[in-house]
């Protein structure tokens, strides 16, 4: 059976000592940054990109993936114990989780968060395994025209699903596309928008851009906030929830997992959206909803399952189609491209070891996280007391070293400095940087495939609607655009985003 051979391939890659170690390093580091507020998986992945180039691509992706879903676990610890979300996706966990901690039930809250996440992680991993092969079977029919339309669809979805103003999201995507144009054009060999800087001949370095926006600009923003020396509830007590607790939570975990799995696949989705949606759903459907907000364990179980499921399934579009659904995935694609692997449906057929290895490692990683985290909660709590005056300068230094080592080029560090200021200004102006990153990553690929399609079709633009797969994606894109344009839907969207 294909299903089993695929899994066997995956296990043979993921179970090597080296890859187990990188998986472990990834989830450990992920939990660490998840616990610490003010530094997230995107920053960490950005910082580790240069290091990952020295690893084989399998190990690199396994480690980077571990950071992402590991952070979802870590984030809940801070949310429950300190009432500060360690990760944006744990925001809703603070509502009921911290109340539980105040009531002396921190242990069960942490326990159910871990168990719910583990269950969701397992289900989502199986989902990835099942959903991937049908997508792979169309890999060969993916020519330049299909890629172009797919990317149009991805970009439109990024705008539709972005938080906040549509106009601002659109502006950021376009800006990202334009930054992506800098450098040597592959079709003509002309250097565009380099302003005579040889350092820009190969374009704006992706590592420099992402570290600037998610590392440096983030730090600057956090420095602007008042450092909250929140009270850490270090009395945790029994970690395992009671059987009654678990029974009570099973429906919530199931709902959270389902919703998270679906939302994770959508571009612009991922863990954050999943957690919010799951909490809202839970409030609507659960019995005795009035207890939410006052330390209801279901208010921890549902969003925690959802954010982990979402984190996991957001790998589906990234691995199978090469479309990043969030900035971390965009960075994973960057990592693949620097390893010379062109993202897309072909990865599955051309690099089965990489593809299935990463997926299986996610399941192993989830297992490690449960075993790791419940006994180690005490240690993470100590870490929360690490002062930012030590943490932030080290991040700045690591960002500079990391960016420099990619090309051994000082120019890239200046580029990073420039975009750090730029990123700070953007966030201050309420412009989400995520669409910009997506535009930056997808833009050059989109242009490349557009011009390649037209070269092959000898200039006939009809090729995009004549190919069925390409037409399908264009219709989906048009549909999504229509959705934002409709006034009633736009209104609900804005309300939903505000919640």
């Amino acid at each position: 059976m294909d299903f089993l051979t695929n899994l066997a391939t995956g296990f043979s890659v993921a179970l090597t000592v080296t890859n187990l170690l990188y998986c472990f390093a990834g989830v450990l580091l992920g939990t660490l940054v998840g616990v610490l507020p003010g530094i997230g998986p995107v920053t960490t992945v950005a910082m580790l990109l240069p290091f990952s180039f020295t690893l084989p691509p399998e190990s690199a992706l396994i480690m980077l993936a571990g950071i992402y879903y590991g952070a979802q676990y870590g984030g809940s610890t801070t949310a429950i114990l300190v009432n500060i979300p360690g990760e944006a996706s744990s925001v809703v966990t603070t509502i009921d989780g911290h109340k539980m901690a105040l009531a002396g039930r921190a242990g069960p809250a942490l326990g159910i968060a871990a168990l719910g996440s583990f269950f969701a992680g397992c289900v989502a991993t199986v989902l990835v395994v099942v959903a991937a092969p049908p997508l792979a079977s169309i890999a060969l029919s993916f020519g330049p025209a299909e890629y172009f339309s797919l990317m149009v669809c991805g970009l439109v979805a990024a705008i539709v699903l972005a938080r906040g103003s549509v106009i601002k999201a659109l502006g950021m995507v376009v800006l990202g596309l334009m930054f992506g144009l800098v450098g040597s054009d592959i079709n003509s060999g002309i250097r565009r928008f380099t302003f005579g800087f040889r350092g820009l001949a190969d374009g704006i370095e992706f590592v420099a851009l992402s570290m600037a926006i998610y590392g440096l600009a983030d730090i600057a923003l956090n420095l602007g906030k008042k450092e909250e020396n929140a009270e850490v509830h270090s009395k945790i007590g029994r970690v395992w929830p009671t059987l009654a607790d678990i029974k009570y939570c099973i429906p919530s975990i199931l709902r959270g997992t389902t919703l998270g799995s679906i939302l994770g696949v959508l571009p612009g989705g991922g863990a954050l959206l999943a957690a919010f949606a799951a909490y809202t759903l839970e409030k609507k459907v659960a019995k005795k909803p009035r207890r939410f907000g006052h330390g209801d364990i279901r208010g921890v179980a549902a969003p925690e399952s959802a954010n982990n499921a979402g984190a996991q399934t957001s790998f589906i579009p990234m691995l199978t189609l090469g479309i990043p659904s969030n900035p971390t995935m965009a960075m994973m694609i960057g990592a693949m491209m620097i390893h010379g692997i062109s993202p897309g449906p072909r990865v599955m057929t051309e690099r089965p070891g990489l593809f299935w290895g990463v997926i299986v490692s996610m399941w192993l990683g989830n297992l490690m996280l449960v075993i790791l985290n419940l006994p180690l909660v005490g240690m993470w709590v100590k870490l929360l007391r690490m002062p930012y005056r030590l943490l932030y300068p080290s991040i700045v230094v690591f960002c500079c070293i990391g960016t420099y080592t990619v090309n051994s080029n000082l120019f890239d560090v200046y580029v990073m400095a420039f975009f750090a200021v730029f990123g700070y200004v953007c966030v201050k102006l309420d412009c989400e940087p995520a669409p910009l990153i997506l535009g930056f990553v997808l833009g050059p690929m989109m242009e490349e495939n557009l011009r390649r399609s037209l070269l092959i079709s000898r200039g006939d633009a009809m090729v995009f609607v004549q190919e069925p797969i390409s037409l399908f994606f264009l219709i989906v894109a048009a549909g999504l655009l229509l959705i934002v344009a409709l006034p009633t839907i736009r209104k609900t969207r804005e309300e939903a985003m505000q919640e």
Binding site: L140, I186, S188, G189, A201, D202, R346, N407, S408
Partner: protein, 325 residues
């Protein structure tokens, strides 16, 4: 008294340092040698460069450190070496892009013949002509016939404007009169899926890039571009023996140094490279990427590089290949 003492100390120090400079040239190398690789880690140049560095280091008795300085199609790394001190501690490993860029690009920061000196050619590797299975051609002759019967229908893939696979395709067009459209990719590897589904029909690919796809005939290898047959594709003819006289494309690699290298340093380096190229481990490593070791004297190497420069200059000028909009 103290001043005198100090003066004599300084004099002694100067004398000592002079002495050490004098012995310095004789005992080259006294410190690690840097070999600049102007491409990112992971490619063929990186692989050959690191293998070579290890074995040349053994022969010299000092480590040779490979350093990636990627950027602008190899121009950044080349420029770094062109500006370095000609003391034998900074070397460059470069492919034909070094002779193509000066003609192709509007300007390059280095002067190939005034600033850089060939130490030795180190490897030689032909390209392989691969075609889509959708064309239903089995031999080189059938492929040429197909191209002549279907003018303007063929697309050929390359690793980008001005790369050896692109210019090899142009040379093929110029020597057969066949009309085909150039479709550039980011690397030749990215073009294979489109070749399998017959969206592009042929390419002159590096052997390392073609091997995974020709083994099970997902694309068809027709001929190699060297002067003699290649061991990897021993059953395939060369393009020249198949009827296009003088057609030869070599994806060579050579070691360069900044101009002005002391003669004895140059001799020593050339000898060390020659020793390294004869090691069986190195030969085996080179064979993995379809390259064969090839040592030359500095003079023969320089003449070879100059000849390749002229060859591609002609193809570029005749094909009017320039980065344009």
């Amino acid at each position: 008294m103290t001043t005198k003492l100090r003066m004599s100390t300084i004099a002694a120090a100067i004398g000592l340092s002079l002495l050490s400079t004098a012995t310095f040239a004789q005992s080259y190398p006294t410190k690690p040698v840097k070999l600049v690789l102007p491409y990112s880690p992971g490619g063929v140049v990186d692989f050959i460069g690191r293998t070579l560095a290890q074995h040349v280091g053994d022969a010299l008795g000092q480590p040779v450190v490979a350093e990636n300085r990627p950027g602008a199609g190899g121009i950044v790394g080349t420029d770094v070496v062109a500006r370095a001190q000609p003391d034998g501690y900074t070397l460059l490993l470069m492919d034909p892009a070094i002779v193509i860029n000066p003609t192709l690009q509007e300007s390059v920061p280095y002067d190939l013949f005034k600033q850089l000196d060939t130490v030795s050619v180190v490897s030689s590797s032909p390209l392989v002509l691969v075609v889509s299975p959708g064309l239903n051609v089995k031999t080189f002759a059938e492929f040429v016939a197909y191209g002549k019967a279907n003018p303007g229908k063929l697309n050929f893939a390359s690793a980008g404007i001005g790369t050896t696979p692109h210019l090899a395709g142009e040379l093929y067009k110029q020597s057969t009169g066949i009309v085909a459209t150039h479709v550039p990719y980011k690397g030749i590897g990215a073009s294979y899926t489109d070749m399998m589904s017959n969206k592009v029909q042929f390419a002159f690919s590096s052997i390392a890039g073609a091997l995974p796809f020709t083994g099970d005939n997902r694309v068809i290898a027709l001929a190699t571009t060297g002067e003699t047959r290649n061991d990897v594709y021993a059953d395939k003819p060369t393009v020249a023996e198949s009827g296009i006289k003088g057609f030869s494309v070599d994806l060579w690699l050579a070691v360069f140094a900044p101009v002005g290298l002391p003669a004895d340093v140059k001799t020593k380096l050339n000898a060390a490279i020659k020793t390294a190229l004869e090691k069986p481990e190195l030969k085996a490593a080179f064979a993995k990427v379809g390259a064969s070791p090839r040592g030359t004297t500095p003079d023969v190497g320089a003449a070879f590089v100059k000849a390749d420069f002229e060859k591609w200059k002609k193809v570029i000028v005749e094909g009017k290949i320039k980065p344009t909009n």
